[in-house]
Every structure is written in structure tokens, then in C-alpha cells.
């Protein structure tokens, strides 16, 4: 049976349609994906993302140990700051893409994907490097308040000064009396916050936010809108756009791989890959023909299969069909054209710069 977050009953009462995702019974939509998408782009949406996992590194070796298994560089951020990057295998394959919250050099929280909770915990524990590693995935409720009105909704509920909280920074504070980690992070391309609190207080926090957000047009939002929102800003989705057989370089995540920081797992393999040249690259595309490209559809060039669609959707904001596909580097340059095999019909596509959408 699928797992439930502490918010399950609240979702059902709010009219959510529940679906199984990565072993979790999660809300896919409430009023409708397009409605919720638009609310997040223009006002605000509240997501329950408690299915995400948390693994914590503690002790004098914590920072050093994590930096050895993380592609980005945790010495470049300060306490109270977060950083995105990948955990890689020796061959460069991505174990997971994660956000690491540096509470201090001796206390760092790794936020992992729902479907990778146990795999990541085992990987992290096996590479503890002298740090104390604890699996805290069931100890946290995580809510994402996202959208241009997020700060206006959250500020009256907390003593923390949100105007001083920069993107990818976080602080501890109470929200409506609930002790939280308040992080200015998200997965939608809008301004917003992710709040971590104890499971028993999750419902209280959700209700307080929904109540406070009423006047600002806040709506509950599900996984459907989360996916269309993230794809419009070309945020990668593990399992679609990368996996254990994909390196960060192939996934277009070279910007979170810091070769010059010293050794880390996967570094040598990726250096070799870089020197030899990539055989495929993840590229953003838009369709010129009607249709929607979906995960797994073939990419064609001169009638031959040359790649595969990783993610695709109809963009609610741009009203066009967008997606990410693995193609040979020769077809990855902006303006390159190729076709997507949509149920036997070749639909013409063009490589474009990502993100597809940028907030004003």
C-alpha cells in the first residue's frame, strides 16, 4: 500500500484527486492542473512535498565527507545557505539530484527525491566519511509555498524578516506558532518558500497558510502543476531527465560540477567524458507541429532515430509544446531542427535556449 503524508486527510477534504507517485499517495490536482499552474505563476500555490526525503550529516567531518560525494562545492556557501547539485557514482552516473542545506559545517541536511529515499540513504551511509548519517525522511513535513505572492502571505505569520532572506538561503523561525526551517527555495521558477516542520504540526501549518493566503488568491496545488511548472523552467526531474546511467554533463548540469574543488566521486569519469566529448546532451525543444512530445518518444533526424524525449508537456504559460530530449551534440545547438515521433507521425521540433519561461 502506498504511503501517506500527514496531510492526506486534508488533501482529500480539499477535493484532491490522489494518485500513486514513487510509492506515495499524493494529490495530483485539486481544482485542475491549468488553474493551479496559473495561480502559482500569478499569485501563489501551496504544495505538500512531504514525500521528499531528508538525510542529515553531522559531526566534525560532515562538510568534508559530503563535499567528497557531491558535485557542487559546499565550501562556497555559508551557514544558512543551500546548494543544488548531484550525488554521482564512480562512473559519473547520477544517484540523485539534491539540495543540501548547510546549517553549519557540522550539520547539513540533504533533501532527496521521494523515489530515491532509501537508495540515497544507503549510498550516503556507505560514504559517510566519518560523519554521523541519519535518515530523517519520516521526521519532516515539507510544504512549498510558491508564487509571486508567497512573501506577502508568509510574512504576517512569522517573526523572521523575509525581505532579508535571499534566494537559496534559509533560517529557523516560527510560522503560525509552528517551529520551521524557512527556506527560499522551490521547484517552480517563481519566488517562494519551502517550509520544513515536524509531522505532527504539518496540518496546523497547512491550514494556517491556506487561511492567510485566502485574500491573496492562494490555492492548493498538486503534482500535476508541479511538473508543468518545473518543466517550463527546465528544472530536471530525476527518473525522466537523468538516472543512474546519465552523468550531470549529459543532463546539462555541468554548472553544478566543480572539477577544481578537489576530488569527489565521479570526477575522474566525468573528466574523461569531457575530454572524449559527450555522445548525447539534454536539450530544450519546442514543437513547430501540433502534438505533445512525451517521455520515451523517439527523436528522429533524416528519418533515423538519434535520441529520445526525456520530458514533454504542453506549456500552460507559453501555450506551446515544450520538452527536454537527449540528442547528439551536433543537434543540441540552439536553432537545430529534428523531429519527434508522435505515434508514427514525425512532428518537427527546434532546439531552444532554456529556461522556456523566466519570471519577470
Amino acid at each position: 500500500m502506498a504511503k501517506r503524508t500527514p496531510l492526506y486527510d486534508v488533501h482529500v477534504q480539499s477535493g484532491a484527486r490522489m494518485v500513486e507517485f514513487a510509492g506515495w499517495d499524493m494529490p495530483v490536482q485539486y481544482s485542475g492542473v491549468l488553474d493551479e499552474h496559473e495561480a502559482v505563476r500569478t499569485r501563489a500555490g501551496l504544495f505538500d512535498v512531504s514525500h521528499m526525503g531528508e538525510v542529515v550529516f553531522r559531526g566534525p567531518k560532515a562538510l568534508e565527507a559530503l563535499n567528497r560525494i557531491f558535485t557542487n562545492d559546499l565550501t562556497k556557501i555559508v551557514d544558512g545557505q543551500a546548494q543544488y547539485g548531484c550525488l554521482c557514482r564512480e562512473n559519473g552516473g547520477i544517484v540523485d539530484d539534491v539540495v543540501i542545506y548547510r546549517r553549519s559545517a557540522e550539520d547539513l541536511l540533504v533533501c532527496v527525491n521521494a523515489g530515491n529515499r532509501d537508495k540515497d540513504y544507503e549510498w550516503l551511509r556507505d560514504h559517510a566519511g566519518g560523519a554521523q548519517v541519519t535518515h530523517e525522511s519520516d521526521d519532516w513535513v515539507q510544504l512549498a509555498l510558491q508564487g509571486p505572492r508567497a512573501q506577502a502571505i508568509l510574512q504576517p505569520l512569522t517573526g523572521a524578516d523575509l525581505s532579508k532572506l535571499k534566494t537559496f538561503h534559509f533560517t529557523e523561525g516560527e510560522v503560525a506558532g509552528v517551529p520551521c526551517t524557512i527556506a527560499r527555495t522551490g521547484y517552480t521558477g517563481e519566488d517562494g518558500f519551502e517550509l520544513f516542520c515536524r509531522p505532527a504540526l504539518g496540518v496546523k501549518l497547512w491550514k494556517a497558510l491556506m487561511e492567510a493566503g485566502k485574500a491573496e488568491g492562494l490555492v492548493p496545488a498538486g503534482l500535476g502543476a508541479r511538473d508543468t511548472l518545473r518543466l517550463e523552467v527546465a528544472y530536471r526531474l530525476y527518473g525522466n531527465d537523468m538516472d543512474d546511467a546519465t552523468t550531470p554533463l549529459e543532463a546539462g548540469l555541468g554548472w553544478v560540477v566543480k572539477f577544481d574543488k578537489g576530488d569527489f566521486i565521479g570526477r575522474d569519469a566525468m573528466l574523461r567524458q569531457k575530454a572524449a566529448g559527450l555522445s548525447r546532451k539534454l536539450v530544450g525543444f519546442v514543437l513547430a507541429d501540433p502534438g505533445i512530445a512525451r517521455h520515451g518518444f523517439d527523436v528522429l533526424h533524416d528519418g533515423k532515430k538519434v535520441g529520445v524525449v526525456a520530458s514533454g508537456t504542453r506549456s500552460p504559460t507559453l501555450k506551446t509544446s515544450i520538452g527536454l530530449a537527449f540528442v547528439p551534440p551536433a543537434l543540441a545547438a540552439e536553432g537545430s531542427t529534428f523531429a519527434i515521433d508522435i505515434r508514427g507521425r514525425p512532428a518537427s521540433a527546434q532546439a531552444v535556449k532554456t529556461p522556456f519561461y523566466t519570471r519577470k
Binding site: V33, L34, I292
Partner: protein, 129 residues
Amino acid sequence: MNFPDDLKYTRDHEWARVQGAKVTVGITDFAQDQLGDVVYVELPEVGDVVKKGETFGVVESTKAVSDLFAPISGKVVEVNGPLVDAPETVNEDPYEEGWMIVVEASDPKELTELLDAPAYRKFVEEEQE
């Protein structure tokens, strides 16, 4: 959920409105609700021949792709062209403005195999359990 009495239904959640030999086809209120926001519709062209039980098009929501199955065999004599630019019509008005094609039935006997409204309602209720 609304299942008009004057329509016939398939177990694939299409409806058929029979007017002589002409049969108008769309998807049911239940189907549009299950799909969620419809963002793309692919329909055949006038003159194409469809066969009962076989796909005649595709309807897609933000998350799901769903084939459209012909409730009856025959030639397509009309297509709801405006749906392509306004696929949300399928959600808003599945039985009127959201119609998809009109088929000239080649074998009207096939109509007897379709469900009437009470039978379809029962089918939907059983499927939801």
C-alpha cells in the same frame, strides 16, 4: 455526473448521438473528468473511414494521453475543427460544443451493441470501485 438519456455509450467512455445514419461522437463527462484539463485533441479528417472499436484520434491532458475509440464503423463526414485550438471545450461542454466527429454509419446494427445511459452509469460506478 451527467449522462444524457438520449445518448448511447461505449465502455471506452465515448458517447454517440444517433440521428438517422449520422452519428455524432465525443467523450463522456466521466472521461473528461478523469483526464483532467484537456490540452490537445487529434482528430481524423473528413473522408477518413473509422472502424468500431478502433482508434480514431487522441485526446491529451497535461499528464495523460488517451486514445479515442470509434463507437461505430463508417465514414467521417464532419470534424469539430475548432476543438484543435480550444481543447478545453471538451472539459467545459463534453456533450455539445465538445463533440469530435460525425460518422455516417455503414452498419447501423452496430448501434445495438452500445450501452444506454443507465447501463453506462452502472458501468462507470463499477469501474470506480
